[in-house]
Symmetry: C2
Amino acid sequence: MNLSDYVLNFLVKKRVKKVFLITGGAISFMVDAFSRNKKIKYISVGHEQGAAMMADAYSRIGPNFSCTMVTSGPGATNLLTGIGCSYFDSIPSLHICGQVNTYEQQSSNKSTFNVRQVGFQETDIVSISKPITKFSYKLKNENDIKYILEKCYYLATSGRPGPVLLDIPMDLQRKTINSNKLKSFTPPKKKIKLSNIELKPIINKMDRSKKPVIILGGGIKYAKAQNHLKQFLKKLKIPIVTTWSGVDLIDHSKKNYIGNIGVYGNRAANFTVQNSDFILSLGTRLDTRVTGGVPKNFARDAEKFVIDIDKNELNKKRGLHIHHKINSDVKYFLKQINKINFRISKNEWTKRCIIWKRNYPIILDSYHKIKNFVNPYVFIDYLSNILKTKDIIIADDGGHLTWTLQTFRVKYGQRLFSAFGNSPMGYSLPASIGASIANNNNRVICIDGDGSIQINLQELHTIYKLKLPIKIFILNNDGYGIIKQFQELYLEKRYEASGKGVSNPNFKKIANAFNINYTFIKNHADFKKIVKKLNSKLPEIIEIKLKKNQKIIPKLQFGNPLEDMSPLLPRKEFLKNMDVKLINRDKKIFEAN
Amino acid sequence: MNLSDYVLNFLVKKRVKKVFLITGGAISFMVDAFSRNKKIKYISVGHEQGAAMMADAYSRIGPNFSCTMVTSGPGATNLLTGIGCSYFDSIPSLHICGQVNTYEQQSSNKSTFNVRQVGFQETDIVSISKPITKFSYKLKNENDIKYILEKCYYLATSGRPGPVLLDIPMDLQRKTINSNKLKSFTPPKKKIKLSNIELKPIINKMDRSKKPVIILGGGIKYAKAQNHLKQFLKKLKIPIVTTWSGVDLIDHSKKNYIGNIGVYGNRAANFTVQNSDFILSLGTRLDTRVTGGVPKNFARDAEKFVIDIDKNELNKKRGLHIHHKINSDVKYFLKQINKINFRISKNEWTKRCIIWKRNYPIILDSYHKIKNFVNPYVFIDYLSNILKTKDIIIADDGGHLTWTLQTFRVKYGQRLFSAFGNSPMGYSLPASIGASIANNNNRVICIDGDGSIQINLQELHTIYKLKLPIKIFILNNDGYGIIKQFQELYLEKRYEASGKGVSNPNFKKIANAFNINYTFIKNHADFKKIVKKLNSKLPEIIEIKLKKNQKIIPKLQFGNPLEDMSPLLPRKEFLKNMDVKLINRDKKIFEAN
């Protein structure tokens, strides 16, 4: 057995069924091992960037984690944007890079340390990837392979998950190894500190509070704690809000689900957290897209209990005062708290939040009346109505991500996500491939933009080749919409490089070139064409015509507290929605508007 | 004037006329400055990877250096493969990345040092890019901008050139600055050590040698020393060979030009260096693609004088014995040596090399007889005949790069290059854009492959949008040819992920989708269609049908000395081409074959 065979066997044991790759000189021996292993397959893709994003989504949807294989140099650096997606969103993935032979490496010899390159296509991917991986390592000895793979796996999947990178020189890929003689990695013992003694005060405080809120973050998914959450939420009749990453953790038809919070959140959800007096935050790092640009204004009257597996996130000083920092795996936390017998209901407060939800819908009546374009809020609402409970929906970035997250009403079981923290253009198309493959080649809904889809356009061929029923919606507003809105607001409508100097290829012709069916939706009446396309077994491109200057509404303007989204409400109406105590405290902020 | 305006003014002073960019939140203020400056324009492209490769080629062709601008996070990481091209090939370029506001950065606060991300799309691009840039820096204070830009420029263009990266936080991009009050960067004084005293012995040695050779490397171009080289070569009637990077430094019709050396070089050129007793190597790092995999076998009877600006390259210990290491800018070296009055002719030796050139042509008669496919050697030869002296030819990587470099006969004035050291798939298409723009939107010949072109396919729209007369040849051998050849040789024809599992889109339909003319060349008789396409003012895609298993011939097999390329010559014939002294010394090597 050579080292490459050992690596594949290891992946099989870790339930990786498909590896996303492009071959190349320095990874040839590793790729060759697939010819001798029937339990694992590869998907040869169009660009290594696509491979990394497919792996990211494969890991989000699949049972365990994921793997890419690429050649040295450009093969490896092409992965980085995809690795960034996994790093910032805590997704476990393993990236195996081929490297030049050990003896032709810079580091093989003191005299070559400062040379730019020794071997052909040699690049120090370990140093380059360090800032965006949990562990990045170049294999030095074939007999370390078991130890290193186990360490990689442990680090990728334990604690706060994330990507790891393993650089394997060509000469080591083909070394014969004796798998019985390899040393193992022993994971450090987990320190679990939580106990009932610490949990009861949280329940008591929640019970005694008048306006408690639970915030659900993506960390609950990454901890695979959905069932524990479900059990926990059964004990509570209080308002629930989510972050964007946490948006698919709850059925949106649940009465006490108020919406998602943040700079591009819902008014109702933002009113809810901003009026609350108690917050239990589960698995979210509460970044500024969630808290607003001035974190000290976030839920400023609430006693905050924050559960986070990453103690650096708890200890960061960004103006947000966290009263109780609980450094724990959220799954363990929920498991423990579920052992306690309690029920908490806050009917009046919940009702008030539900009224906000009713009073401030995302979709305004006027949106339906548009004739010559599609309003994206109306479109996402339509899609939300017809999609099934097992559907996976992946949005890209910018405007169409925002419209989707603001509007889509998740049915429990659906998955709705994007690469939230990194938010690259071009994620949703390859991610849809990875997700579909992880989900038995089933349907995936890809919500893309006219700018974004061009980034990984080559993967349309991968979709065609694999005959995956991916439904690609291109929300076409002719340019970078979210930037246009920024320029309108702050740069006197100088649309440099967003509207001006930017144009699109003809997507109908693009679809045709890749042998993918194409449908054009020019207005709301055309929606009726969509169902058939969704039900086909084939990939489909459906282009949706938007207004060029379609806005994101509502949106928090910089400097304002989370409750005061733009377009600003009439002051009288706005003040009615906020507690007098809070208004008085922040008089200055509101008087400015 | 704000900081962004200052940056553009600086670029204008440094003769940058076009900046390659994609906008995004964190670079918005910088991009906005273009609305106020008429002397510099931007090209909005399809993928930041394309932007970096365009900048690389713009710098190779243009008068000075080049610049990209991208947003934070994925915008920045998308640059890295292109930055790698500039780093390994010593190309000066400046990459300006937008970064999140100063106060929302990890580094703004001790408590956030170990957090994965603070601001949205924040990524530590400075650390990530460090291993492949000469200088990478995040601006901390707006008043440092002049100093830092000057330092960036100095480092990019001085010594051994290379890319630099400047990360500019959003808040600093919009700061008002007083350009009179900014401090300047003072470049360190250059230490020039060379003098006639040291140069004369080189000339004397060359004169006394029997079989001298000059090796021309890409460093001569990067030092902009072409004219000095021309003057120097006039003094010499001795064999000249080049590396791949140096291939366009000499007119190939010159009698004493023997060819390019290396693993994929010409037999004649390899015989020349391997039989030589004196080598003057100018501006090449003599890596293993040039010397062969066992550097100690390279030109083992020659006294070697190596001129390199990078002393690390001179001092690296890789088995190659360099007798005289001259750490100098090659331009300065040539200038000094040109001051000396001398002429050296070695007619008999030169004649012998010329005979090798005649005896071992790349193109064999049998290649012309192929009917149902195009032989790439015949095709490149054809192209070489009809291209003009001002043409720029850019090859991508793998097979088609090799066929091109083995066959193409450069007319002085032509430029022929690739991203040699990094050699990413997908370079030639965006590089052709950058080169054409640097050359007044003139014709560029892009030699691409069926696998490679997919990597940056989105830039076909950029070509269409800008109406650039780029002639894109797709040498289609249905898969990754150079890997297939490797697998045939070393992996018993198991074509995993090179032939198997790999397929291409229909390039005719792709061309049509991007509104680019398409021509199919199915055999040699079809070549007549090419001239018209080359003369059109439009972009053209010309697909060339190759055999699936088209080989690279000749090629050095691993372990063999440079003179003994495969297919191996009959031993008798081979031995006749080598000096007896050398044969006796390396008996063992040759007896093995």
